[in-house]
Symmetry: C2
Amino acid sequence: MVDIASRVWNHKWKIDPIVRSLIDTDFYKLLMCQSVFRNSPDTHVTFSLINRTTSIRMAELIDEGELREQLDHIRSLSLSRGESTWMRGNTFYGKRQMFRPDFMDWFENLRLPPYHLERRHGQYELTFEGKWPEVMLWEIPALSVLMELRSRKVLEGMGRFELQVLYARAMTKLWEKVERLRDLPGLKIADFGTRRRHSYLWQDWCVQAMIEGLGDNFTGTSNCLIAMRREVEAIGTNAHELPMVYAALADTDDELRNAPYKVLADWHEEHEGNLRIILPDTFGTTAFLEGAPDWLAGWTGIRIDSGDPAVGAEKAIEWWKARGEDPRDKLVIFSDGLDVEKIKALQAQFAGRVKVSFGWGTLLTNDFRGLVPGDALSPFSLVCKAVAAEGRPTVKLSDNPNKAMGPGLEVERYKRVFGLGQQMPMQVEV
Amino acid sequence: MVDIASRVWNHKWKIDPIVRSLIDTDFYKLLMCQSVFRNSPDTHVTFSLINRTTSIRMAELIDEGELREQLDHIRSLSLSRGESTWMRGNTFYGKRQMFRPDFMDWFENLRLPPYHLERRHGQYELTFEGKWPEVMLWEIPALSVLMELRSRKVLEGMGRFELQVLYARAMTKLWEKVERLRDLPGLKIADFGTRRRHSYLWQDWCVQAMIEGLGDNFTGTSNCLIAMRREVEAIGTNAHELPMVYAALADTDDELRNAPYKVLADWHEEHEGNLRIILPDTFGTTAFLEGAPDWLAGWTGIRIDSGDPAVGAEKAIEWWKARGEDPRDKLVIFSDGLDVEKIKALQAQFAGRVKVSFGWGTLLTNDFRGLVPGDALSPFSLVCKAVAAEGRPTVKLSDNPNKAMGPGLEVERYKRVFGLGQQMPMQVEV
């Protein structure tokens, strides 16, 4: 018999909100936010959405009204009591009170700042301007919304059984991946797939599948809301936006060259242990490691997020050796474009030589490739980046020139300052 | 675990359609439609929505866009194969092939004609113009849509538990009525509540409650879709619109005086047995019965739909006696403003003297009185009537002057022609 009250309740919603919580975001965003709130609370930044897969014409696919409704809904969110309690009381990386009371007081009263939305050349120009600690929190929900609105658009035309079979296939596909990963002894893997997930519910399902399928080999999720609800570890450290903004604020070439180390010096003051993870590729890994101060070699590990991951890891191993560190004590986190084959190969190459860990993103939470006609649900490369700080453009070089961004002249200056030589272009898939 | 496919499916709907089938309508509409299709297929009529409870300002309560979406959705409906099979193959009142093949061919290809919607003085002016057999089918879905949009508006502000408790109370309330009706031996009662129901799902629940609670004493429902799905009898005969339109088309006072009998003469040709039910009150019961031809006294029964029902029934009994008929062979159907107390009183007064039957409407399918603050869900008096035929206004007098409608001068002419004396005004509740 139909439960009329539930039916009425479910159909009352004007929209089906995609992002329903301010902590439906990546853990490193909150960590960085606290850091920025402490070190650069008044820095004025601009974040901007960039669709690197231009063949997908977002503004033709997604209704502007629906997009605005979803973004407006996010602006109505504030931290709930339970979320605040979790952030204040939970143990993160073995530490209590990771989030300081002054930061929590501020975060509890936060609403996300306004957004600016225009359509141009079949794409959405979605930008966020304002104080860095506020604006930066738009990145993940903005990406989640656009990714899921795109999924919904494709699902819109499908029948009830088609949907049932689609999800049955996607579940089968993921479960087969999980079963293959089970064979890897000592695997350590986490979910990093919030930003490009198929949908919230799907990411949540994937995390539960990993919990059941991998047991202790699954180390947690970058998504705070899911970490809280599924009672697993929240995972993440820091990202490119810190060196990008610090670099943009540099007044001289010397300051620019020093900016990435300045970021980590600030981080060093705030965090210890497993949170001391170097992200070296913002302006090229090689030069970064060569110029790094010795105290950085004492850090716990490194995250390889662009370029050939095996090359990057070998480079880190050599660097640690050169600095008198034993690589077997060091953690290497792979987080770029992973799928089962690549995970298996990297695990085979590096297990025993370093501590290996994986942050599995898009192909965990959005592998619908081959499941619908025209591959209309396959993932694509959407990012939301800091593009300016105090009116100056930011630059990212990375270890893959196809991931570089920034105005041409500035990119050239950065290449000169950071002594970037020839790079190997690699296809950016997801 | 969330069934993601079902969640996606449920949330894909742009609207939650209120009317989802062309047979989500009263059975008598289809019977009359077949009659009109045969006798007056090209007569041009206008139906209009009239809210007799002017204190409820529909246009302020209900969003025009939502109303249009619902009405547009109804225009997209056509008879489904299963619905057609049911109409062609089912037994109605013991008779197979009640609906003739030529009518079914026409009905299978029907889409409802355009509507005209304006706002005036806080109310909606909703009118339908065109060929009678098409336009007349708007009446019930138009009323259902407006009633349910009003319910939804009130429910919109309610929380999940409030809703659960609201429906729990409404269910309790109805079940207590059913239990009281169980005590009445020989009761015959049907659901006549489509037009003013709280919602489709609620009417469907009420019918199921009656099936379980009253067994064979529940004789069926006027709603064809529910009759089909719950496998109970579809109930209904004819309504005021037939004499109203026939009367409007009359060229002389003599033709006017004869119009109500002309309606029933046409009906006599088409139907027999339990479908031969007189609805005498369109222009006053007393004069109608006095002037009725003898063959009408041979009909199966009478339906009392306005005025004091006991007075109307006594009048019918006297009339049958005067025409040499035995009232104990005759059926009296009460269908106006019924609730348990009135049903019990009428059953007590007439059982044994005539065959008694009840068509229970609004207070079966929409008794939410006293369940929300300000009684915002209590039923109200909304009708959709034929207001003109071939450009001439229609008139209804009924046995309650508060239910009279039509232009003043015409009402006076009809009163004169039909010899209507003083009437007792009664409150129109539902």
